[in-house]
Symmetry: none
Subunit: 209 residues, 4 copies
DNA sequence: AATGAATGAGGGTTCATTCAT
DNA sequence: TATGAATGAACCCTCATTCAT
């Protein structure tokens, strides 16, 4: 669903424009849905539930979204945007494989936990439409491929011990995806804390002695 | 579903008794369902799918099972049986926290991958009925609690470095549950190989330097 | 929907009064809707479609019309106005049953094809509200009754052979209504051509030898 | 929806086999739906209506049919089967263009009216899926093309006067399709009577003087 | 021991309609 | 005059479940 253009309007800085309102509400919808998806899974989350949680009718959702599928797709895209950001950051500030991985992992986890829900749908890859699965699959492959490459780099530059890059990435991605099932923003551990701890565990797991 | 009594029947040692037949078929049903559940998720797996894969009608399944829910419940129980076995083994052969954890992890993963599907349903915890969720939840807590305890033991006996036991367990459990989404018995890596590799990664992550 | 009074306003001869504007736009709306109805049917034509074709929002339509039903009703009335005109013309210029029928048919078809869409809704009689169906039904009966009468007259005055008046009228009305599904104003055959051809076919079908 | 094979079973001649039962019920469903379609149109006929008329639940229909669309499609196919039969018959027994057309028209109408409902959906061509529309469209074109050809033949062999073949076919097809909106099997005129009368009208309309 | 047939609840989606602005 | 936003009814369809055979 794409929003049509709209003239800027006066009061620009005081009140929200209609477009901003729209975007805000849409964002809220995605967030709420994503939360439900990661709690109960895509298929077990009814739009009625989502709507009720937002205080509107099911039909109202369709003003902001074409499809239930679009919601899932959008969520996946969002979470991959985080991945891209994390990669960019790691690439810029890390000096060897090991450092880059640590930065990548930590940034990624911080972003994810900061806006959890909007992204915690990684588990629901199979619920994507074949067409969408292709798109998201490509991005996931890119991410994992980059991750693996980093492991290889680290091994090559001596900062990491000789682990299996593929299994290592799976190992870590599991931990991340699982996060979405138990992480509670208002819980005992802050997102930053978890990010740091997980990064530490992974680092210890693969660094060269 | 509990089986009613049935006279033992002659030919006992030659042919399978009816009860054995029943048990065999039921087991096959559970396995097949579990496989489907871990591939596509509980709610996206229809009983028709399962039945077709077994070569029978949907209705036939109800002879072996009361409910779709019962299947899921049973699968969860099975996978926890593996956990219990792994614990028992680790407890018997490990000499300190670190060793026990390694044994636990490795045994658990080997069991899981050997009969994947029967257990790959860990991801579908939320699809359980509240009542069943309570039961399985208790077993899960027991398992994780024991796991955490092991970490604490290891830290105490100096075999492990000072990590957060709770997060560590979550970290690892994520990797395990995720396994069910990508592991392919006929794929590149054998179950044993993965078990060993994962155990190695975890060990490196938490052992004292 | 009836328009409330409105003062005539100055500039009367220069600009369109508000009432004229209103009428113009309403007419455009009816025409556009009718076109869509005859192409896709009443129930498969959404007001959004109609609105989009007119360059406004769905809501805007409700300023000119009370109901979707009102549109259909109005269209039916329009098409019957054409029938009435054709009758009047035929009655004035035809000298016997056969001539009158030929004139009726030809005039009717020329009017219909000239403003096709505004009338091509004959097929959607069943989509009318019971109340409206009664009203339109009466007019339709009047038309068909007059038509049948003409056939009887023609038989009586010897200009037509002895055909079944009722079936003859049905026969021809079918051809007319079907027209709305294939006639293309910008197509191969002009409305006049079709009117002439169809009139010719009917005439040959029923004239006395 | 295709039915799987089934062994013949004893009592073959006494009781209906399951397959026959199935076919019978399916046929009834199609007939009932077709009746509703031609009365109210495809989009305004809800499966609930159809089911209620058959005394079952909406869901039950899905045991016999994959889709609402499949019903429509099947009806169209049925009616074209009648067209094919009529063509075959006309081709065999007619000796020139005029005779063949008369036979075609009469046979076709008799078949249609005998099982009206099962076929009276010609009007709902636009409600077909693009894919199905292609298939049915091809058959319709074939039929109309053959019909036109017959007109040309008749003109060539001198049995028909020089009419426009295309418009003539449209003219007649309109009458036929319209039939489905007013024909009542238990009404004043029998199917045979109508078939004969319509065939007579068309014949008079186009025969050479 | 298994099947065919049917049910009912629930889910996603569309759309005419309303109303405040 | 016209729009954005929301609603509720209706619809198609799926699926776990039941029951007679």
């Amino acid at each position: 669903m794409v929003r049509r253009g709209r003239h800027a309007g006066a009061w620009k800085n005081v009140v929200l424009t209609q477009d901003e309102q729209f975007a805000l509400k849409r964002r809220a919808l995605l967030r709420q849905a994503a939360r439900a998806f990661s709690e109960k899974g895509y298929h077990d989350t009814s739009l009625t539930d989502v709507a009720k949680a937002l205080g509107v009718t099911k039909s109202a959702l369709y003003y902001y979204v074409d499809d239930k599928q679009e919601i899932l797709f959008e969520c996946h895209k969002l979470s991959h945007d985080f991945g891209d950001q994390a990669i960019e950051y790691a690439e810029k500030h890390g000096r060897n494989g090991r450092e880059k991985i640590s930065l990548l992992v930590r940034t990624y986890l911080e972003l994810l936990t900061s806006e959890l829900g909007a992204c915690a749908v990684l588990l629901e890859f199979n619920a994507l439409t074949p067409a969408n699965r292709k798109i998201i699959g490509r991005r996931r492959d890119t991410f994992e491929h980059y991750f693996r490459k980093l492991v290889q780099t680290g091994i090559a530059d001596g900062s990491l011990r000789k682990v299996d890059p593929k299994l290592t990435v799976f190992f870590f991605m599991g931990a991340v995806n699982w996060l979405t099932r138990w992480f509670d923003p208002s819980g005992e551990h802050s997102g930053e804390h978890i990010a740091k701890e997980f990064a530490g565990l992974l680092d210890a797991a693969i660094r060269s002695r």
